[in-house]
């Protein structure tokens, strides 16, 4: 009877025959590794487009009177820049991209729980990206990535397109979150208990419910905005009883958790890179893991700290301020744990490690300015100024994007079988690090002195620092060009990596690079944490022969 085979094999043990033919393998693929790479490529294309928009912004600000583009066009440019970077670059890279690529390997699964849903999630993403950029054709949104009414109600038709595009990419995120959550809960290899999961998996595990719950709330807000604009249903129209402030509540109830969606997976990447290149067990494994969950939970309780100037009752402002301060605690725990991991380690300064260390420094700056901003009196002073721009770029570029680059240098061998060039990589890091700080550090001063964000011109007294930041931003863009050159060059000419070029201990490095279609010949049994560098590897059964479970037709899920 087949029942015995089933109970012996279990969920993780199914081997599908590998699909033949280009389309099933590389285009409409069900393989999580291919889908992860598809996510990364698509997101990097959008990253280039949004980067060009960023340079258009900086070029406009070279001159106090602007003059590079018209003021309306400038509004469209920064709105699409922000929307693209948040929804089409950082979130898809960290969840759909690295998430898909790495975490099923790390938990010893053969794929995610719902491969077909995974493919659907991916294919919605480029479509919604094209929709977002097509809004330029009909008058793009002009109220920034937050699209506050009433300005977003008055915007051209592109604003409705924007809402539809972000709604769609949100559907994709929701499905990804659901998929990842079920995968992590149900498909871990035998012996892989929660407290033996690699920290990148913990990062994804904390992010997935945020993707599922917060993004749905955003979908509601966007749907309301859409029907308000298209059918005149007055949710946000104050002349008919609606409330523009309600949009801010609905939007930030998503968008504050969204900043954790954009940083928790990056925390996970850093927690893999640091111990590997310090050759030392990660300090405070459980603290790092549980603090991610604490951040995810408290992240839902602080949204109104974005709204201190929106006429919130003072008795509501105070708890939001206090809980925001409290979030600094789990974040600080992580920073200290990473620092303690480095202490006394035998540190290898590879490019991935440089980006990880850079992350710790820059994210700390961004986090501390976040604590400034949580304080109501200070927030009232700098709200809507360049101080916010500086803060959010320190967190999202100095944090999330540095995490993405660390992940790219770290896992590129797993994707391609080749190592990215180290010389170009170090050049990339240093130019990027210096260019980034020279661009965004001066913005703190600009903001404290009162330069408003999202305006096409500015007072001549701010000219020097703005020009300084603009020239520095060209340096940053040049550094990113080096990165692209490095990737393209290394795909063909990079040094062959072998299965484990870094001597890392998580499960994905114990199988060939790139991995076989079915990931593991035999699903291993896990005996311990992957960070104890002095111990033998905690896996058994990796080298046994293919499991003899009967193949099932591909796409049967």
């Amino acid at each position: 009877m087949a029942v015995a085979a089933v109970s012996a094999g279990g969920i993780a043990d199914h081997i599908h025959p590998e699909p033949q033919g280009f389309v099933r393998r590389y285009v409409f693929s069900l393989d999580h590794k291919i889908i992860g790479i598809q996510y990364l490529i698509t997101a990097f294309v959008f990253f280039m487009l949004a980067g060009l928009l960023a340079e258009a912004i900086r070029t406009q600000l070279l001159n106090p009177n602007g003059g590079f583009v018209a003021a309306d066009t400038y509004n469209e440019i920064y709105s699409i820049h922000g929307s693209t970077m948040v929804w089409l670059v950082i979130i898809p890279m960290l969840t759909g991209g690295f998430g898909n690529l790495v975490f099923p390997l790390q938990i010893g699964a053969r794929d995610v729980a719902f491969p077909w849903l995974n493919m659907l999630s991916f294919w919605i993403f480029p479509v919604s990206g094209l929709m977002l950029f097509s809004s330029f054709l009909m008058g793009a949104p002009t109220a920034g990535w937050m699209e506050y009414p009433p300005v977003s109600l008055q915007g051209a038709a592109g604003t409705s397109m924007w809402a539809a595009a972000i709604f769609l990419v949100g559907v994709s995120s929701t499905m990804t979150g659901l998929n990842f959550l079920v995968t992590i809960l149900k498909m871990r290899a035998p012996g892989m208990t929660f407290t033996r999961m690699p920290l990148f998996v913990w990062g994804q595990f904390a992010t997935a419910p945020l993707l599922m719950i917060a993004t749905t709330a955003l979908a509601a807000a966007l749907a309301a905005l859409f029907i308000n604009r298209v059918f005149g249903v007055p949710f946000f129209d104050p002349t008919k009883g609606g409330s523009p402030v309600m949009w801010q509540h609905m939007f930030w109830f998503y968008s504050h958790p969204a900043v954790y969606i954009m940083i928790l997976p990056a925390f996970g990447i850093i927690s893999e890179v640091l111990p590997t290149f310090a050759r030392k067990p990660i300090f405070g494994y459980k603290l790092i893991a549980f603090s991610s969950m604490a951040i995810a939970l408290t992240g839902f309780m602080v949204w109104a700290h974005h709204m201190f100037t929106s006429g919130l009752a003072p008795f509501l402002q105070l708890p939001f301020m206090i809980i925001t301060f409290v979030i600094g605690v789990p974040t600080g725990i992580k920073i200290f744990s990473w620092t303690a991991t480095l202490w006394g380690g035998k540190i290898h300064y590879n490019t991935a490690m440089l980006f990880a260390i850079g992350f710790v420094g820059l994210f700390t700056i961004g986090g501390i300015t976040g604590i400034f901003l949580a304080a109501i009196p200070y927030d009232l002073h700098v709200h809507g100024t360049y101080f916010i721009v500086a803060h959010l770029h320190y967190v999202l570029v100095g944090g999330s994007l540095m995490g993405v680059f660390a992940g790219m240098y770290y896992w590129f061998p797993k994707m391609s079988g080749r190592v990215l060039n180290e010389t170009l990589g170090k050049l990339h890091f240093w130019l990027f690090f210096i260019g980034f700080n020279l661009t965004f550090l001066p913005m703190h001063w600009l903001g404290i002195e009162g330069m408003p964000r999202e305006v096409a011109t500015y007072d001549p007294q701010f000219a020097f620092l703005n020009q300084f930041a603009s020239y520095a931003s060209y340096l940053m863009t040049f550094a990113i060009l080096i990165f692209f050159v490095n990737v393209i060059w290394s795909i063909r000419n990079g040094k062959r990596s072998g299965p484990n070029p870094w001597g890392a201990r998580t499960l994905e490095w114990q199988i060939p690079s790139p991995p076989n279609y079915y990931n593991f010949k035999h699903v291993p049994t896990v005996y311990g944490l992957p960070y104890d560098f002095s111990q033998p590897l905690p896996y058994k059964g990796l080298d046994e022969e293919l499991t003899d479970a009967p193949p099932v037709a591909a796409g049967a899920h």
Binding site: L178, I213, T216, G241, H557
Partner: protein, 204 residues
Amino acid sequence: MTAASLPLDSHGNVDQLYIETRELRLQGFLLFLVSDCVLFASFIFAYLYLRNSGQGWPPPGIQRLDVAFAAWNSVVLFGSGATMHYALENFKHGNFMRYMWFLLATIVLGAGFLGGQAYEYTHLIYGEHVTWWGSGIFGASFFTLTGMHGMHVFIGVCYLTVLVLQSAAGVYTRGKFFGITAGTLYWHFVDVIWVVLFSIFYLL
């Protein structure tokens, strides 16, 4: 696990894939319901926010909703929840014909609820001139939320109709009936949402 309750595919073989993915599907479906719940919760938040920021409720010029009719209509929907429960239980116990009758009763009651809602909408729109876009936040929140719920009921009725056709074709066996479980969960979910909507729109 007895041989009779093993999931079989259409050739009578034991369906391995189903056994392996049954738990995943259940969990995935429950999480889908959670995130659907958030969709309703967001709009309910919007409704309560707008309701409490205005000039009293209902806004001037608009009459209170007719509780009696909606209460009878709710009874119809909750009745369909009961019949759905008995449909699933009968299927589990192998009473196939009773299962089919209860399933059909659920569909009829669900469609009846939709009919009642259509009547109520018609009355509001043509009798009291309350519209989605022209009646301020009252029309906006009422029609959006009840419309979203009605859309869910409609999708449910379609899904249950598909279940009837599939069951008649013998797709579901005693060991393999996740489609029916999912339909039942979804239908109860829609019921629970209606309890909340009925309370906050008609009773509050």
